[in-house]
């Protein structure tokens, strides 16, 4: 086996297994930074040994066993570690007794104990801990749960690699200095902490779905990464309706990823998309996740409501058959749970579709008179559309041009300018 072959295999195993390995190690050594170090050391060992020995049949277990072996080594050498973490010594001795390095059937027996599903859940809660800034949570989640390299994270967020590396180092330092325990939060805190986890996953998704800056309108790989982490979370925390709600929302929105991009990468609005290219497999997964959320009962949360809205679109065979009154009603409930101007703006759009542009414009103007969403390009974009539908093209063009001036996304800007010109071509001077 050649070195590049091994390199690729190791990268793949890392992406598939690193979260479980780091999570398992973090539980044993009670230190996230050390856990990641040990896992990385095991990776280096793999790169050294696999070209000669071949890739082991269970590479994840091999990495875990190697990392634990290195933990024992460090533990023996480092008295401070021994003093501080007596529990570590106990657990490592126990696992050493069961022959960490054995090959064959015993190997599996060891690793079944090592991979506890709850460890992954703990890792998610820690990576999304409120002591960290939002951007640190995002970076740490992609790094620890997604198995992405700092380079990949930097490219996804159009940031410099050292910036992301720094962010991750600082985040881990904060977790250590704040002595954040490696645990699933107690019942009293769980709902709020889960809120933070869901928020981080949805942020990652949205960054991919509507790239906030740059030349590309969407970066689907970030959407798929968020979706993957979300599905994993739904498996780990199946009794939480909002988790299924978020997964449903992401599945349904992902189903339109292909349709919402025009031939030259420009955004295509929902109602103009070719519904034939919506991904029916993801739509079905979305419906199933939404059903799981609804079966769990209780008043619907924000993600369940947003998923229900996305489901209304997915269900309509043509734009004309969209159940706008239902969407408007769902948005009305959503404005109660999540009274943000963005939600109110979306509600205005739905109301306009259900009951006419004049009703929608009333709601938009109410937002505007309160001075909400200054600098948010979608406010003038929506207002421009409503004005155009009300037969006020000059005002419509002004609003669409203003929206074009506010967006940071190049593709979106050109679409807005085209629509502005369609409202009312500028008279030739």
């Amino acid at each position: 086996m050649t070195v590049p072959d091994v390199r690729r295999a190791v990268d793949t195993v890392w992406r598939l297994e690193s979260a479980r390995i780091i999570a398992g190690l973090a539980r044993i050594v009670r230190d996230l930074d050390l856990a990641e170090d040990l896992a990385q050391d095991a990776l280096v060992a793999a790169l050294r040994q696999w070209p000669e020995s071949g890739i082991p049949p269970n590479p994840g277990a091999w990495l875990m066993a190697t990392a634990k072996h290195q933990a024992i080594d460090r533990f023996r050498r480092d008295e401070r570690l021994q003093r501080n973490i007596s529990q570590l010594g106990h657990e490592l001795r126990v696992s050493q007794d069961t022959a960490v390095f054995a090959d064959g059937p015993e190997f599996d027996a060891v690793t079944d104990d090592d991979f506890v599903p709850d460890d992954l859940l703990r890792l998610m809660f820690v990576a999304c801990h409120p002591v960290l800034s939002t951007e640190s949570r995002v970076a740490l989640t992609l790094r620890l749960l997604g198995g992405l390299t700092t380079g990949e994270i930097a490219r996804a967020f159009l940031a410099a690699e050292p910036t992301i590396a720094q962010r991750i180092v600082r985040a881990k330092r904060t977790l250590a200095s704040e002595q954040v325990p490696f645990e699933v939060p107690p019942a009293g805190e769980r709902a709020e902490r889960m809120g933070s986890v869901l928020e981080v996953i949805y942020l990652i998704f949205n960054e991919g779905y509507t790239a906030t800056a740059g030349d590309n309108w969407a970066r689907p790989e970030l959407c798929y990464e968020a979706l993957r982490i979300g599905r994993m979370l739904a498996d780990l925390s199946p009794a939480d309706p909002e988790v299924h709600g978020l997964v449903a929302l992401m599945e349904l929105q992902s189903s339109r990823l292909r349709a919402r991009l025009g031939p030259s990468g420009e955004p295509v609005p929902l109602l103009e998309q070719n519904r034939g290219s919506w991904d029916q497999l993801l739509i079905r997964r979305g419906f199933a996740a939404l059903l799981r959320a609804e079966r769990l009962g209780g008043p619907p949360g924000s993600y369940v409501l947003q998923a229900a809205i996305a489901a209304c679109h997915a269900r309509a065979p043509t734009p004309q058959e969209t159940d706008w009154p239902r969407i408007a009603a769902l948005y009305e409930v959503l404005t109660v749970i999540e009274p943000t101007p963005v939600v109110e703006l979306n509600r205005a759009v739905a109301v306009a579709m259900a009951y006419g542009p004049a009703r929608g414009l009333e709601l938009v103007d109410e937002l505007r008179s309160r001075g909400e969403l200054p600098g948010y390009h979608l406010l003038p974009a929506v207002r421009g559309d409503l004005l155009a539908r009300l037969g006020r093209p000059a005002e419509a063009r002004g609003e669409l041009e203003r929206a074009a001036g506010l967006t940071r996304n190049e593709q979106e800007r050109s679409v807005l300018l085209r629509r502005a010109a369609e409202c009312l071509p500028r008279p030739r001077q």
Binding site: R8, A9, D11, T12, V13, R15, L16, P57, N58, P59, P220, E221, Y224, E225, L227, R228, R231, M232, A234, D235, L257, R258, S277, D279, L281, R285
Partner: protein, 107 residues
């Protein structure tokens, strides 16, 4: 990226293999990696078309061992991941033959 993993030959499953495969399939389905899977009847009719005119031929076929007998539709990040998962499948299924092909779109 989606990949279709197919098998055209394999050991008949025993009870242990069925149990292990069941766990593997459940794990991958929950993780959203396995989108669909199933077994196929190798004796299904063959279809040939000439200028839109369809001819059906019923089995059994002499070359039945070339027929696909099971499939799995995988949602992964790279071809290497699909290959890695196929290795795990064959660790359970032991002996056989198959293919791993990328399904084009939706990316």
């Amino acid at each position: 990226m989606r990949f279709l993993m197919t098998t055209t030959a394999g050991d008949p499953p025993d009870e242990q293999m069925m149990a292990e495969m069941g766990r593997f399939v459940a794990e991958l389905s929950r993780a959203g990696v396995l989108l669909a899977t199933g077994g196929l009847d190798p004796a299904g009719p063959r279809v040939t078309a000439k200028e839109g005119k369809v001819t059906l031929t019923d089995g059994p076929f002499a070359e039945a061992k070339e027929a696909i007998i099971s499939f799995a539709l995988l949602d992964v990040r790279s071809k290497e991941e699909a290959v890695e998962l196929s290795k795990r499948f064959w660790q359970i299924a032991k002996n056989g033959e198959g293919a791993i092909q990328q399904v084009f779109g939706p990316e």
